[in-house]
Amino acid sequence: MRKKEQKQYWTMRIRPHERLWHIDLGEIWRYRDLTELFVRRNIVVQYKQTILGPLWYLIQPVLTVIMNMVVFGGIAKMSTDGIPQAIFYMAGNICWFYFADCLNQSSSTFTANQHMFGKVYFPRLVVPIAVVISNLLRFAIQAGLFVVIYLYFFFNGADLAVNWAILLTPVFVVMLAGLGLGFGILISSLTTKYRDFTILFTFIVQLWMYATPIVYPLSMVEESSLRTLILANPMTSIIEAFKYATLGQGYFSWLALGYSFLFMSVLLLFSIVIFNKVQRNFMDTV
């Protein structure tokens, strides 16, 4: 008996285990419209039904900087390398805010979206990517404020030497985003099973800030072992380089930046692999 058989082909196979390195980047690209909508949602929703709205983006750093000026500059009398306190603290803080926001918001990817993830499939990585992008707006607004304060001090004769390294700012931002995203999705992958990590990490991020030269310049740290420790922190070289680029005072080293960049790349790769593995089954354990 001869029967004309149509050739059977499959567009998708769903298996219990996928190879560890199987990451479908094309799929994430196909969902770019969703990413865009998530970005809009994150921005729009954040300050809905507030009177001041996006002004909060500015109030937050201003208050933090004033607080830093009072506590670290005023009471503790810590050096700022001759840079006006306001602009010195501001430079470190806006970078740190961006990193910490990316980290904190993407670290709850699975737990905060479990309801949505439990009902429909889309590449889960879209959510933390949208977080990183939407925080970029906030960073831009705060950077705008930074420029305003900067110009004020500049024309009042402060010793601010902006230099060529300013051109590297986009690279700094990418590195901050990469580190925030990397740590964030790693934590979110770990917290689906053991919630302890959520508590641990919110705490660690707070402490981490003090291991990063934000309220003090790296030049203040003289003891060599402590200095090595602080330089081992991948955030250090980025923030110091940013300060160097904008203020003219700071620690700029290609080696340290290269280390941070390598750190970020490895972390990002590692955490995407973990994230990708966890996303397949996390609904059973979350």
Partner: protein, 422 residues
């Protein structure tokens, strides 16, 4: 050509705690799988998923050895009791979670509708949420813009389009969510019980839309429902799941019959009808009920039987004015015929305190169709009160009327009674 193929798919869950429970077991699993390269050791244990029985092991198979395929353009209904694994099956297919063993092959774009309005954010307006929800389901922005008018029109929420969704009534939210989903254009649509939403008007619209999708547009649809009427309406094929395993695969009609039969016969096999009384006046006690000369909840009619005997014995402490009421229903609950002589003749019996017996011989329609029927039995004073109610008192199996060398009348296609010429 096949659109979906399940290859011995299974999904194992651990009861109680998450993960394997202990760190040591997590570790030994990791050790066995990643270092020694063996299979997951915990997949070997585990039992089938029977909800009501207490199991020996903490591991259960929510789905076990599911093996079937769906042709392109088929509309398949998946039915089964609660916890039979229907939703798990859809979850695997829509990639919300991965199977433990086996493989699922799919040909075409899948959109899964396990819930309406996924991703709705209460603070955003209706319009923004249409975009959000559509994009989550896999539509592009351009696609949504193209269909926006249609979606809004279908939902009937035009006036509130720019109001935040948190101000919507729950019905409106559901309408909006369903409208977006209804305008998806995937090759394969996976639907969990979402049609039972909205008001009657909208339900009709939703079912109509589903029918268009299923029949007119030639898409493959997998549809889970407890509503047999809508499964019968929409689906050509049916799969019955029972305790995580496929129990039956066939046409929708056969599957529904199989499911309802097993649901009625297995669990209530030798139950007495007097135990099925849902409501009874306090002064009344029903001692015995017999229908078709059996006190049990299942019986069958012989092919030429035209009279159904009903016997009710009981005692009462107060006088009653009443008559027997018996309704014959389809398995999905649609009433087909009723014995309510008290109603249309107005003649009621006056029962004095003490024992009483009702004996009624009810003439059944001659050309009765085959199938399973449910009998509901009452003692009532028409339009005043019921003295007792047994809504689901007996399952009646009827072979269906036929003359020699002819075919029995079929309930599914030809209706409850056959008509004859004069």
């Amino acid at each position: 050509m096949k659109a979906i193929e399940f290859n011995h798919v299974g999904k194992q869950y651990r009861l109680g705690l998450v993960s394997t429970g202990t760190f040591s077991r997590d570790f030994s699993r990791w050790w066995a799988m990643n270092v020694l390269g063996k299979e997951d050791p915990f997949l070997k244990i585990g039992e089938t998923n029977i909800r009501s029985k207490k199991g020996e092991s903490d591991f259960v198979w929510a789905l076990k050895d599911i093996d079937f395929s769906v042709e392109q353009g088929d509309v398949v209904g998946i039915i089964g009791k609660n916890g039979a694994g229907k939703s798990t099956l859809l979850k695997l297919l829509s990639r919300v979670t991965a199977p433990s063993i086996g493989e699922i092959n799919v040909c075409g774009r899948i959109a899964s509708l396990l819930e309406v309005g996924t991703g709705f954010h209460p603070e955003m307006t209706g319009r923004e949420n249409i975009y959000m929800n559509g994009a989550i389901m896999g539509m592009t922005k351009a696609e949504i813009t193209r269909k926006l008018d249609e979606i809004v029109d279908f939902s009937g929420c035009e006036r509130y389009l720019d109001t935040p969704v948190k101000r919507y009534s729950s019905g409106m939210k559901v309408r909006l969510g369903f409208s977006v989903a209804a305008h998806l254009e995937p090759e394969i649509l996976v639907v969990d019980e979402v049609l039972a939403v909205g008001d009657a008007d909208f339900q009709k619209k939703a079912i109509g839309k589903m029918q268009d999708v299923a029949k007119g547009e030639g898409r493959t649809v997998l549809f889970v429902s407890h509503n047999m009427a809508s499964v019968r309406n929409l689906c050509q094929k049916g799969i019955v799941l029972c305790d995580g395993m496929t129990d039956f695969i066939g046409t929708a009609e056969e599957a529904i019959d199989h499911y309802l039969k097993s649901a009625t016969t297995q669990t209530e096999n030798q139950k007495l009808m007097t135990d099925c009384i849902g409501y009874c006046k306090s002064y009344l006690k029903i001692n015995e009920i017999q229908i078709n000369n059996t006190p049990y909840t299942t019986t069958s009619l012989s092919p030429r039987q035209e009279v159904l005997d009903v016997l009710i014995k009981g005692t009462t402490k107060e006088p009653m004015k009443c008559e027997v009421r018996m309704i014959i229903k389809k398995l999905d609950g649609t009433p087909l015929a009723g014995f309510i002589e008290g109603c249309y003749t107005g003649q009621l019996c006056n029962i004095q305190p003490g024992e009483f017996t009702f004996e009624r011989h009810i003439r059944l329609p001659k050309y009765l169709a085959d199938g399973y029927y449910i009998i509901a039995l009452y003692l009532h004073e028409p339009h005043v009160q019921d003295f007792f109610q047994a809504q689901n008192c007996q399952t009646l199996h009827v072979e269906g009327f036929y003359e020699p060398y002819a075919h029995p009348l079929r309930l599914s296609t030809e209706g409850f009674i056959g008509l004859e010429s004069v």
